[in-house]
């Protein structure tokens, strides 16, 4: 059954190709069946593979499917091979399943768009690239998936390309992540040249054998990979592209934020965690980056007016939590939070899509009172929002976030600062989440609801709602009689942190304080943004700064973009170009000279034949 693994990649690729080539001639129904069906089949196969994998685990909990070697030269033997272990299986399940629900939703959501087939072609390719990235057993294939994800995000953010604003956002996402891609590529080359293998597992083994902890080479390699991860996962200092990525259709945002793209960085670090263990300073940096990003983005989310931008900053903030967990060495906690986040963030984006579709408005301050007419979207927001804010015991987000907070306090690398920051972040999360819900769904209704959602949208929302509620029960804290099934499952790949024994009172206290923080956020949100308050956005300086995402765009514009453009303008006619243009001119001269030989006359051609023969005879005799 595991042999079917290649189909999980092949089916979306095939469907994307078909849609790209023949999409414009197909009816919408066929496009929908192909586009959503292909990912659905991939999800089913993944489920099947997952069941077999759990029921009878392959040797060493790893299954490798070698398809073929692309080419072979020295040690450079990029294979087309897929590597399935608990981590990639978890990623695969989330990517295909959440991806399928988003596709299902899009069948209805995008129905009236003229680029229907084009949209599904891009989306399928997006999912296929992500699966390639997840399953790659070697660095080159991983890089292929990595770049594919980048390309598809560009195509989808700029999907409505007639508006230059969207194209600009797409270009921004592409260029900003390019910084990371470059660092990542250099890192891969470094690993390949120093370790002499492209195989990821081999490379990790050799690194652990050959490099000592804290050695400069390990630090450099980990730092370069971190550069790639930071860009793809929208962490400081390369987070600026994600809020603008809202320009794409809403399902695209759901896909980028929940199932693909931004989680690639988290996966990359978890996949190469051996390297980060060898470079403790970089691993600590990961935790710092995660913490700072989490807090800054949470403040920004607090001031946004655009519903989708709130969610975008919330994604940056939540990925910050995952980075914090990675930095603490709590690998499985990061993967757990990735999973629950995929559920509730996809849910929130899709529900936001329903709202935006219904009222044609994204500004929270112009919404209000929508809870009566958009009941499903309202409940989706309540459930997704509670999971995001961590409503204790009954939402998925609570368990995963609690695990991270617990590790930041009691883990071997944790300390009070990380815990305090995590708690502050949790408070802010609760605050901005309920601010959004209160502004959109309570208070006087200002907008007319124009569209109701159909079956496909409702099904995907309901399924995601239930996943956001029960998704956390796969890993419950052992101290309260729970079983950390997911962590145990991942343990064969991601080493667990050593157990810290703390009394049940402390444990209870941490859980209680997490609950308190949730309630505090909710209460504060009610006080400030509740239905009885004035509905004017505050205009003080700090909120202006938060609204602008701490002014990073402004800073980068002054610091990088403008100087770069200035240099480019100044050096437009510099002497460096002369030899290059000169080369081009030499080739053109060569063309002009040689063209004279093509006279079109047979007698000249025959003479050429004779002269040529004479010439090679002469050469032969001279050289003899």
């Amino acid at each position: 059954m595991l042999q079917l693994l290649w189909l999980v990649v092949a089916i979306p690729v095939a469907s994307a190709t078909l849609l790209a080539l023949f999409g414009s001639n197909l009816s919408r129904r066929v496009v929908a069946v192909l586009g959503a069906g292909s990912v659905g089949v991939a999800a089913l196969i993944t489920l099947l593979i997952g069941a077999v994998f759990l029921a009878s685990p392959p040797m060493g909990n790893v299954y490798v499917q070698h398809l073929w070697t692309w080419m072979s030269s020295g040690g450079f033997t990029p294979e087309i091979a897929f590597y399935l272990d608990p981590v990639s299986l978890l990623m695969l399940l989330v990517v295909t399943f959440v991806g399928f629900l988003i596709h299902l939703y899009s069948v209805e959501y995008m129905h009236d768009d003229e680029g229907y087939a084009r949209f599904f072609a891009y989306m399928n390719l997006f999912v296929a690239s992500m699966i390639t990235l997840v399953l790659a057993n070697n660095l080159l294939l991983l890089y292929l998936g990595w770049e594919g994800v980048g390309l598809c995000s560009f195509l989808l953010i700029g999907f409505w390309y007639r508006d230059p604003q969207n194209v600009r956002a797409a270009a921004k996402a592409f260029i900003v992540t390019r910084f990371g891609d470059t660092a990542f590529a250099v890192g891969l080359l470094l690993l390949f040249t120093r370790l002499g293998t492209l195989d990821i597992q081999d490379a990790m083994h050799r690194a652990a054998m050959q490099w000592s902890t804290g050695s400069s080479i390990a630090t450099a390699a980990a730092a370069l990979l971190l550069g790639g991860a930071v860009a793809k996962s929208a962490q400081l200092p390369l987070q600026t592209w994600l809020p603008d990525a809202m320009a794409g259709p809403t399902p695209t945002s759901a896909l980028i934020h929940a199932a693909t793209m931004v989680t690639a960085g988290v996966y990359l670090i978890a996949r190469t965690h051996v390297l980060f263990t060898l470079a403790p300073s970089i691993q600590f940096l990961v935790a710092i980056i995660g913490t700072v990003t989490m807090l800054l983005a949470a403040f920004s989310a607090l001031a946004q007016r655009d519903m989708k931008r709130v969610l975008a900053y919330s994604t940056i903030s939540q990925i910050g939590y995952m980075f914090l967990a990675l930095g603490l060495g709590a690998w499985s906690a990061a993967m757990f939070h990735f999973m629950t986040h995929a559920f509730f963030k996809a849910l929130l984006f899709l529900a936001a899509g329903v709202v935006i579709h219904a009222v044609h408005e994204q500004d929270l301050y112009r919404m209000g009172g929508l809870r009566k007419e958009l009941r499903l979207a309202f409940w989706a927001f309540v459930i997704g929002g509670s999971a995001l804010a961590g409503l204790p015991l009954i939402t998925a987000g609570f368990f995963s976030k609690d695990l991270i907070l617990w590790q930041s306090w009691a883990g071997p690398n944790g300390n009070a600062w990380f815990w305090a920051a995590g708690m502050t972040g949790a408070l802010l999360t609760s605050l901005y989440t309920f601010r959004m819900i209160l502004l959109a769904f309570y208070g006087p209704q200002q907008l007319h609801v124009r569209a109701k959602s159909g079956l496909a949208v409702r099904v995907s929302l309901v399924v995601l709602c239930s996943l956001s509620l029960v998704g956390g029960y796969v890993d419950t804290p052992p101290h309260f009689g729970g079983t950390p099934a997911l962590s145990n499952f991942l343990n064969s790949v991601l080493p667990p942190l050593e157990e810290v024994h703390i009394g049940p009172i402390t444990e209870t206290m941490t859980v209680l304080s997490a609950s308190t923080v949730f309630a505090l956020g909710l209460w504060l949100a009610y006080l400030i943004f509740g239905p009885k308050r004035s509905r004017q956005p505050a205009q003080n300086l700090l909120e202006q700064l938060w609204l602008a995402g701490w002014g990073f765009d402004w800073l980068y514009d002054k610091l990088l973009v403008r100087p770069f453009q200035w240099i480019a303008r100044k050096s437009a006619a510099d002497p460096v170009d002369v030899p290059i243009n000169g080369l081009a001119q030499v080739t053109v001269l060569g063309y002009r000279a040689l063209r004279l030989t093509q006279t079109g006359q047979v007698r000249w051609y025959a003479a050429g034949l004779a002269l040529g023969t004479a010439a090679i005879l002469a050469i032969a005799f001279v050289a003899r």
Partner: protein, 486 residues
């Protein structure tokens, strides 16, 4: 001739037998569809007989033929290429030619000639195969009699090919005079003992003259001058045939008898071949640079590609021959696809030759534009296409033989080549000019692509990608087949 000999020769007999059947059929009644079906059937039967006859390999039949896995592999490639030419030609001929039937007859004869070249083991078979190929080509190039450019190209080819054949014949005579043997294996011997002093004067002279003849067929510099005129004048399917089958057959012969398994080719033949290779790579790419006629661009580019092939031949050793075979296969698939797209775009009156007729093609015919883009990328050697891996193998072979000058030239000239391939791509994706164009009833932009051509183009595009991402499928066979050469 024993029964086994007969079996081994089956592929070589089925193709001309089909030609004879066609002659009779055409004499009885002209029917284009029937003729096309019979010809394709003949090719399929010959292809099937390869599998059937493979059991008696390797085998020498009389003094003329050597039938082994090498010649069978190349025969299979040539038969497939000829079949693609038929598929592409069918509608082209329907559109443009009153009497299309003899085209198939001539192509079958020319294919027979190429197959004889692949299987020949002495001068007589070599020369007979070459002439069979050439004589059929004279008629094929001038096949569209209404076009004066076609007639002109045919006559040019006739005059020049006849001259080069006579040079070739003279070279053979010199070698025979010195050695008293007609065996082609003398080439191999001469290549292995390739320092000038080990070879008698007459043998070296003869070898050079033979190279002239072979170089003319392959169109390497300085015997390339005919290429653009003939490519331009010949009907598109014939151009595709010249570029694939005619050159492929000739190169297979060259590779078999000039290849040195123990190392690269050095000495006088090595020097001369290197000069030919370098001159071809540079000249071909430079001449194509500012061309605006796509047929001529591909003609010049073919000169460069033959230069790349010579690099693999010169590299020799264990990698050279399979690399050359891979490159040639990739090139044949690609060039058939490129000319195939052009054929599909050619209307009743005009062939789609000028660069202008491709302006904005993507917006009118996205699938054809995508196929053409694939072919151009493959010719330029962009990753994931056949051309990339072909070039990769050639570079690998060259590097393992340390032929750095050749490799440097290859890389520089490929870079120059990138310009004119990508220029066509850019033109195809440029926005079409305003809507004020007059609608032409013979407009190629609305012409439907008929089923045979669609099938052929889809298969060729698929092959380009298959060769580009799954090379092991072909490479292992090619290594095995070329192991016993030289």
């Amino acid at each position: 001739m024993s029964r086994t000999d007969f079996v081994a020769l089956l592929p070589l007999m089925i193709v001309p037998a089909t030609a004879v059947i066609l002659m009779i059929a055409i004499a009885i009644r002209r029917n284009h569809k029937a003729v096309a079906v019979i010809s394709l059937g003949g090719l399929v039967a010959a292809f099937g007989s390869l599998a059937f006859a493979a059991s008696v390999l390797p085998r020498q039949v009389s003094a003329f033929f050597i039938l082994d896995s090498y010649s069978f592999l190349y025969m299979a490639i040539l038969l497939c290429a000829a079949a693609f030419v038929f598929l592409l030609a069918y509608d082209y001929l329907n559109r443009r030619q009153k009497h299309p039937e003899e085209f198939y007859l001539l192509v079958l004869l020319a294919t027979t000639g190429a197959m004889v070249l692949v299987a020949s083991r002495n001068f007589a078979a070599f020369f007979l195969g070459l002439e069979l190929l050439s004589v059929a080509l004279y008629a094929l190039i001038a096949y569209v009699r209404a076009e004066s450019i076609s007639i002109e190209a045919g006559i040019k080819y006739l005059v020049l090919a006849a001259s080069s054949s006579s040079v070739l014949l003279f070279g053979m005579a010199l070698i025979y005079a010195e050695s008293g043997s007609m065996e082609l294996s003398q080439f191999t011997a001469a290549m292995i003992h390739s320092t000038g002093h080990a070879n008698p004067f007459l043998v070296v002279t003869g070898l050079m003259l033979v190279l002239t003849g072979a170089g003319f067929k392959l169109a390497v510099v300085p015997f390339h001058l005919w290429t653009p005129d003939v490519y331009e004048g010949a009907p598109l399917p014939v151009t595709a045939f010249i570029a694939s089958v005619s050159k492929g057959g000739m190169f297979a012969l060259l590779l078999r008898w000039f290849h040195v398994n123990s190392g690269d080719i050095t000495g006088v033949p090595g020097l001369v071949l290197s000069i030919l290779a370098i001159a071809s790579m540079l000249t071909g790419n430079l001449l194509a640079l500012r061309q605006t006629n796509v047929k001529r661009i591909l003609a010049y580019s073919s000169i460069a590609h033959m230069g790349y092939l010579l690099v693999a031949l010169l590299a020799g050793g264990a990698l050279g021959a399979p690399a050359a075979t891979y490159y040639l296969t990739a090139y044949m698939v690609t060039i058939l696809g490129a000319f195939g797209v052009m054929t599909a775009l050619s209307g009743r009156q005009h062939e789609a030759m000028s660069l202008d007729s491709y302006r904005g093609l993507f917006w009118r015919r996205p699938l054809l534009a995508a196929a053409f883009t694939t072919m151009l990328f493959s010719l330029a050697g962009i990753p994931f296409t056949a051309g990339f891996l072909g070039k990769f193998y050639v570079l690998m072979a060259g590097a393992s033989a340390s032929r750095w000058v050749l490799l440097f030239t290859l890389i520089v000239s490929s870079t120059i080549g990138l310009f004119y391939y990508l220029r066509i791509v850019v033109v195809m994706y440029a926005q079409p000019e305003g809507a004020g164009e007059t609608e032409n009833p013979d407009d190629t932009r609305t012409l439907p692509v008929p089923l045979p051509a669609t099938l052929a183009l889809a298969a060729l595009t698929g092959l380009v990608f298959l060769l580009g991402v799954y090379p092991i499928l072909f490479w292992d066979t090619m290594v095995a087949v070329t192991r016993n050469l030289g």
